[in-house]
């Protein structure tokens, strides 16, 4: 029924990336968030941003749940009036990144050459260098940004922050063509995709 390969049978929970295309409307974030909170499901990461189409917003939501739960959540989200389309994907099916910033005292960094090497090894780059502190930035998967925290901790890490996850669906063709169908009064196949019929497709769509 899903996009998962036969070989990848995982009945338990795993990370899912829910991609939501929406109108830009005040209050919609709350409407979507309460679908999770009502079921006491924790949102691991939430990002809202513009999409490839002007005026259409895109949510990236990450949860750790079973496929069945994610499917039901996705349907509830798509049911909201201002939501155009919902997709959900496992981590294998998306390219994803998170951005992290690290603030460390400049004097320590400047003193110890090993730090510079470590930063380079971890793909970090300096964003701001001031006399008193330096801010480094890195992007990557959770483990990568986490690794650098551990590395910088002994060197007096002052502040750390990580962004929500952004994810691009590997097999997506984007939303432009679909949107034109949405703008028609009569529902077309793009707007009423049906999971059972779309069986075997790479992307699960509601």
């Amino acid at each position: 029924m899903s996009n998962q390969n036969e070989t990848e049978k995982a009945p338990g929970k795993q990370e899912y990336n829910i991609t939501v295309y929406t109108e830009n409307q005040i209050g919609l974030l709350n409407r979507i968030a309460i679908i999770f909170t009502r079921r006491k499901i924790n949102i691991h990461s939430l990002n809202t941003s513009p999409s490839e189409i002007e005026s259409i917003h895109r949510f990236n939501i990450v949860v750790n749940e079973t496929e069945e739960v994610v499917k039901k959540l996705s349907r509830q989200i798509e049911k909201q009036v201002e939501v155009l389309k919902v997709y959900f994907n496992t981590n294998d099916e998306v390219i994803w990144q998170e951005l992290a910033l690290y603030k460390v005292p400049t004097d320590i960094i400047a003193e110890k050459a090993s730090v510079e090497r470590l930063l380079r090894e971890n793909g970090a780059r300096a964003v701001v260098i001031r006399k008193d502190y330096t801010v480094f930035e890195t992007t990557g998967h959770r483990e990568e940004t986490d690794a650098l925290i551990k590395i910088l901790q002994p060197f007096g890490l002052i502040e750390f922050v990580r962004s929500a996850r952004v994810a691009i669906i590997k097999h997506s063709e984007g939303f432009n063509r679909k949107l034109r169908e949405f703008e028609k009064a009569e529902p077309g196949e793009e707007t009423s995709e049906n999971e059972f019929l779309n069986n075997g497709q790479k992307i699960f769509t509601m």
Partner: protein, 578 residues
């Protein structure tokens, strides 16, 4: 420049007139066919009330006694009329008093447009007098909500509100309008109803493949069973549904919100589903080979224990809301779409059949149920009056033509089980939310939605006291509602559970009531209280024949239990007759 203007006016003659946001709102309501509004004024909605003063000939505003009464009246109106119920309330407490009704309308898919006043836009977020964050409070219990802060938005927002409320799976919509937007004058260029929102797909595309698959399953079935819900009524597909049932010859049972879609005494109508439903439909759910669910959502009160629910059956689920498919019960064939279209498509492909033997099985269970439960409930030889016999006598007099509005509890289950319904939209009850206090205000609205019908509100002594103030609405509006109180001097359903499952520990279910007849009299409503069997039929007759509202209190036996019953956590096939 002058030329350009001429061209513009030639191609698109737009006449605008300057009106206030409040006037634009009322014009929009009229354009949507609204003729009755249930509401209660207050500070933040005063400009709208000032405007409605000049619209008294076009809009019948019913002054309720509490906003909860207003919204339940709106629900009752929507349920009998099939139109969108319209409710007005002010900001703050006025708006929060709508919440129960919104939740009720949301779970029972009732189309409503609620207009709430809000403080001036510049005061939002300042803890202004009677300011409350209505949009966020009502988000989980509305299909859609929106805050208007500029009068220019009003025509478009109201058209969207009506479109969203009534299309697809209906539901409540709340529009919060700040006071400045109500007062603001703007160029109103007329009202255009909405019929498309690009992000909103009320009707999923119907896939022929599924209709074919469903028809194949039905044609091969030996013991098919149809269970239907309110979707048939909301989709206005009663005729189509009846044709399906009659051609297929399949025994069909209903959820309480589906009651009346086909008449109670239709030979293929085998009765009520669920916790207090009929014996056969519950037990045989676990024996059928194909279960055809139409416009129903497999509520836990219908399914009982899910992992023992119809496991042997192939399941066909027809629903307009894709999120209902596989929500509770795994479907074999999902038929997404408007049942007004999917049912006839299915009927066309199925063979005409007569499942006589299978139907006979239902009849056998009926006989068991009649002997064990119904006989004593409807025709007790002696002892105190029972709720069932009151409903039975009422049927004898109304002949199934009345609208029956029920509250929540034992009397609701009894009324739903035994009321004779000849017509669709003649059963109004709070199904999903189980809102005590629903019946009296809902009956007021139900009457406005079906003026030619007799409306009987069947209410318990507990629920009646929750919205008893709406007697004032009846008094002032002169609406004709027959109030039938089944008084067992207990909060009966909770008492029943305490008896059966809590060792007779009656904890706060012993409820005292005022002299209901005297209360009614204080509101100028005629009434009578009876406790003897010989008075029952004449008293019901007096109630029904009375010109105008009437309150009849029937003192019924105190500790009767509603049976059959599927105890919580049990399978439908474990239904108990005692």
């Amino acid at each position: 420049m002058e030329k350009a203007q001429t061209i513009l006016s030639e191609t698109k003659p737009i006449e605008t007139k300057e009106v206030s946001g409040s006037v634009a709102l009322l014009e929009a309501l009229i354009a949507e066919g609204t003729n009755v509004i249930f509401g209660y004024p207050g500070g933040a909605i005063m400009p709208i009330y000032d405007a409605i003063y000049d619209y008294k000939d076009k809009l019948n505003h019913i002054l309720v006694r509490h906003e909860q009464g207003g919204i339940h009246a709106g629900q009752g109106f929507a349920r009998t009329s099939g139109k969108v119920g319209v409710v007005f309330a002010t900001s703050g407490p006025g708006a929060t008093n709508l919440v129960t009704g919104l939740a009720d309308a949301m779970i029972d898919s009732t189309p409503l447009v609620c207009i709430t006043g809000q403080v001036f836009a510049h005061l939002l977020g300042t803890d202004a007098f009677q300011e409350t964050d209505v949009i966020n409070i009502t988000t989980p219990v509305t299909k859609w909500n929106y805050q208007v802060t500029d009068a220019n938005e009003i025509p478009e927002v109201i058209s969207k509100a009506f479109y969203i409320a009534r299309s697809g799976r209906p539901g409540p919509v709340l529009i919060d309008i700040t006071k400045n937007a109500q007062l603001q004058k703007f160029d109103f260029s007329g009202y255009t109803p909405c019929n498309h929102i690009r992000s909103y797909r009320p009707k999923p595309l119907i896939r022929k493949e599924y209709i074919v698959q469903a028809a194949e399953l039905i044609n091969q079935a030996k013991k098919p069973f149809i269970i239907w819900g309110q979707g048939v009524i909301l989709g206005e597909a009663e005729k189509e549904f009846k044709a399906l049932v009659e051609k297929s010859g399949i025994p069909s049972a209903w959820t309480i919100l589906g009651a009346g879609a086909i008449p109670t005494d239709h030979p293929l109508n085998v009765g009520m589903l669920g916790m207090h439903g009929n014996y056969g439909p519950n037990v045989l759910t676990n024996e059928c080979d194909v279960l055809i669910a139409i416009g129903m959502r497999f509520d836990d009160r219908v399914t009982g224990r899910l992992d023992k629910y119809a496991k042997q059956a192939k399941i066909i689920h027809l629903d307009i809301d894709p999120s209902e498919i596989d929500k509770n019960v795994q479907t074999t064939v999902p038929v997404w779409g408007d049942c007004k279209e999917t049912i006839p498509a299915l009927t066309e492909l199925i063979q005409k059949k007569d499942h006589h033997q299978w139907l006979q099985k239902f009849r056998e269970f009926d006989k068991n149920e009649f002997d064990a439960v119904i006989q004593n409930e409807l025709h007790p030889a002696s002892g105190e009056l029972t709720m069932g016999e009151v409903i039975h006598q009422l049927n004898e007099l109304t002949k199934g033509e009345a609208v029956i509005v029920t509250d929540v509890g034992q009397h609701q289950m009894v009324a739903c089980r035994y009321a004779k319904l000849n017509n669709s939209r003649s059963n109004v009850t709070s199904g999903g939310l189980g809102t005590m206090g629903f019946a009296l205000p809902a009956a007021i609205g139900a009457k406005f939605g079906a003026l030619q019908k007799t409306v009987v509100a069947v209410i318990g002594d507990g629920g009646f006291q929750m919205t008893i103030q709406e007697l004032g609405t009846i008094m002032q509006s002169g609406v004709d509602v027959k109030i039938l109180i089944l008084n067992n001097r207990f909060l009966g359903m909770v008492r029943q559970w305490q008896e059966l499952f809590n060792d007779n520990r009656y904890s706060f279910v012993d409820i005292q009531s005022p002299d209901f007849v005297a209360v009614a009299a204080a509101y100028g409503i005629k009434g009578r209280s009876i406790s003897e069997r010989e008075n029952l039929s004449p008293a019901l007759e007096e109630m029904l024949n009375n010109k105008g509202s009437f309150l009849l209190e029937v003192m019924v036996t105190k500790e009767n239990n509603v049976f059959p019953m599927v105890p919580q956590g049990c399978s439908v096939s474990e239904i108990r007759l005692k």
